[in-house]
Subunit: 344 residues, 3 copies
């Protein structure tokens, strides 16, 4: 782990020995919180990816447990129900030997008449050292981070951000491409982009990775993104917006379908699920326009037959289960890296 | 554990050293899943009983924990609420040092718009190595077993099967009889047999054990069982069906009362709980017709004053708490045995 | 830990070495259950306070875990939702390395048609060795203690008692006063005293500690307390009752605001939350009548702007977060002390 002249950049990519306590890290991780991907530099992202490699190796062992976070309290405070993300963080934390406290705040009396600030202060006083938080209000984890003295991990806030999802998506794509790179790859995000925190966080990481990003969906579900695309993402990184599925899918390397919420119809943004499926659903016929080896992704849970056909979801090009599997490893990596910073 | 000529049968009954990892088993257990008792041979059942003896010994220690399943992920996916069975599996798994993930699927977003197949695949990708499942649809765990690469344990499916309940019932009876045998013992299952997975699984194990099995209840709640009794259970093993409580209870060795669901009245199958209690409730008077030392059983939770009188439930003949206690030991035994097969 | 002549009293205050198993205690703790504070002598309370000091020291370590209750089953059976108290007990038990089983009985099928007696027997048969219980019916934990063979800890029963809250309140006050004593200190409990188990348990411990206790609130929410004050608490220990906030707060050393339940208005006991806030809310102006260094307390969760103003709750005099923090330590101390008695 020594750094010699001219190798500083490489040193930032040094991978921690994940069996050791995170305090022993000699890697270049500087963040105390994970609120969104836009706070991460490309070397930061690379470090997350390489640490995830190390965690995948742990997951292949007969006993998938390392003592790294032994005795540390990871509290999972979810204001929106999400078994999938909750269990992923829970398993990740326990694989690192942390103690996990689950609080489902929607149905919880901790929040009765209490402000978010009071709840976060209470949770900390109850022993939380790392706080994984999901909230329906965009920005809520930023407020939490201002008052919480440990690390806050954003597990999804409103339409705003879902950083661990974007990082697991990136990891899953890189792992599947021979050169491990997204540079120049056409990646399509298909569906309800407007309400999607998954899309927003992915735009950042995918353009940072050099991908050719396309957003596609009904015009009502792309509102405002055309203007954003005109300005570009951070550092003027370009992406494309279209309502034409044909244009979007043509020669795509990756197609990521987003979940359609039934509530969107009540709001008048969609005529019917059937019409949505007919016009924007990811079917085998539509997928044929992409490259033959194109990856099919979905953040889950799926509405099969609506935004994605069952045979596509279960087909040979689908990496949807790999996304879930990599999600545990990415969250182990992030908990590990953040724990090292929180203590130092 | 060496097997010499003529001792093969005995070797199948060899009990595992339950403090060791299950991979070290040299016993004759061959099953990867526990879906129903009908897949178990009599030597299999005997092995479960003897392994349960070993687990009861663990439960009598000051610290009731062995490292056998250390670091293994046991996921409890329940589509029907059942605190009793859920906690029993949870305590059993933790006594073996496994990591337990609880998913209450009824209220869970993991299942929103997701097929059972997708949910099982997701749960596996999240790290589940053993899956305990309860579902309101008969046969659901069979579907899960087809796609899950670890072990599936059926924690109750529809009206179909509840194998761990039948095995703990068998264990509880055998432990109470001097010769440890049910051969020729009259065992009565009293109540709503029609809707009972407990009854169905018990018919199999009890007739296999050589018991003289009697099903008793209102004719509306025995529909179809008369014809089944005519054909006999597996291998033509006979049992009896009657609506006469007097005939059923006369000289019985065991009386197992089943829970009455209030929903049955809405369906027109029962006039009223009061009338049911008057005609079929297990009262002290009725119990007097059985043998003096007859065992009183109930799978719980009880409606006291309906299918069973409070004084009978709490009386000297009741082994209802022993059933609960043995349930933890039986589930430890099954998790242990299945884990050995899953890895080998 | 040797006891020489004339030091018997001091020996009763001997603090256990909390890293050791509780069986090794040589301290004078004699209780198997914690049902209310009125069963505790003053030396008992002192022992809890000193053991809490030892637990606070554990909580300051890098890893806040001692092996004292390793492998012991602590079951948390809550018939009323309370994330705060539930998590506090859960974290306390895990810090002692116990296994925790959570049962939310309100929504739980364990209780369907089951009597409390049956539920407690079932929970014990499932492996519970210590039972933390919250119930909406006053006295329910006493019934549980009659049949449970381990230790019962009352986590709040009806309007009756909340012993762990009273002990953490006492600890928090003592820790803040230079001489560690409440003798002669004016302590005001402000709000809905009538429906408050927190108030009832606090009256006992605070008068035992020699504090000058004042209960203050609208007359409708003090009903019966005037007569009780006339008789005095145990051993004729006096306290005061008034509806005048001015009289109550004048020169107070501690002001503890109680939570107002919105349900009280429906019952006609309160005109409106706005009027309550105007007349009895703990504002900065009102607090100015107390001593300059007076402590502000609240058992949580708070209705900010109703019984307490946000700036008072977050102000320099507030020890509300310390109450939460000390709650974990007090509960660790109680679990530890009770476990020693349960086994001996």
């Amino acid at each position: 782990m020594t750094v010699v002249d001219g190798e500083t950049q490489a040193a930032a990519f040094e991978v921690p020995i994940v069996d050791s306590p995170p305090e022993a890290q000699q890697v270049g991780w500087r963040h105390r919180h994970l609120l969104d991907v836009d706070a991460l530099s490309w070397p930061d992202i690379e470090l997350v990816m390489r640490t995830t490699d190390a965690m995948r190796e742990v997951l292949r062992r007969p006993i998938t447990k390392v003592p790294a976070l032994r005795g540390r309290n990871v509290t999972i405070l979810f204001y929106e129900a999400s078994t999938r993300t909750r269990v992923s963080f829970e398993v990740a934390a326990r694989n690192l030997s942390a103690d996990v406290v689950n609080i489902a705040a929607a149905t919880s009396s901790v929040t009765k008449g209490e402000s978010l600030v009071d709840t976060v202060r209470t949770v900390e006083a109850l022993g939380a050292q790392m706080l994984v938080m999901r909230h329906s209000v965009s920005g809520a984890p930023y407020l939490a981070a201002e008052i919480f003295s440990g690390s806050v991990l954003n597990g999804g806030d409103g339409w705003h951000a879902h950083p661990t999802q974007a990082l697991l998506d990136l990891y899953t794509m890189q792992a599947r491409f021979d050169d491990g790179s997204l540079a120049g790859r056409k990646v399509v995000i298909l569906g309800d982009v407007l309400h999607s925190r998954v899309a927003r966080s992915n735009i950042w990481t995918l353009t940072a990775a050099g991908a050719d990003v396309w957003l596609c969906g009904p015009a009502t579900l792309l509102r405002g993104f055309e203007a954003w695309a005109g300005r570009g993402a951070a550092d003027g990184r370009r992406f494309h917006v279209t309502s034409s599925v044909d244009e979007a899918l043509r020669d795509a390397d990756v197609v990521m379908a987003l979940r359609i919420q039934k509530e969107r119809m009540a709001a008048g943004l969609l005529p019917s699920l059937r019409e949505y499926a007919a016009r924007y659903g990811l079917t085998r016929e539509r997928l044929a326009a992409a490259r033959p080896e194109a990856l099919v992704m979905h953040p889950g849970p799926m509405n099969e037959g609506v935004e994605i056909a069952a045979d596509v979801a279960a087909g040979a090009q689908s990496v949807i289960e790999e996304q879930v599997r990599n999600g545990v490893a990415v969250r182990m990596a992030l908990l590990y890296l953040l724990a090292g910073t929180a203590r130092s």
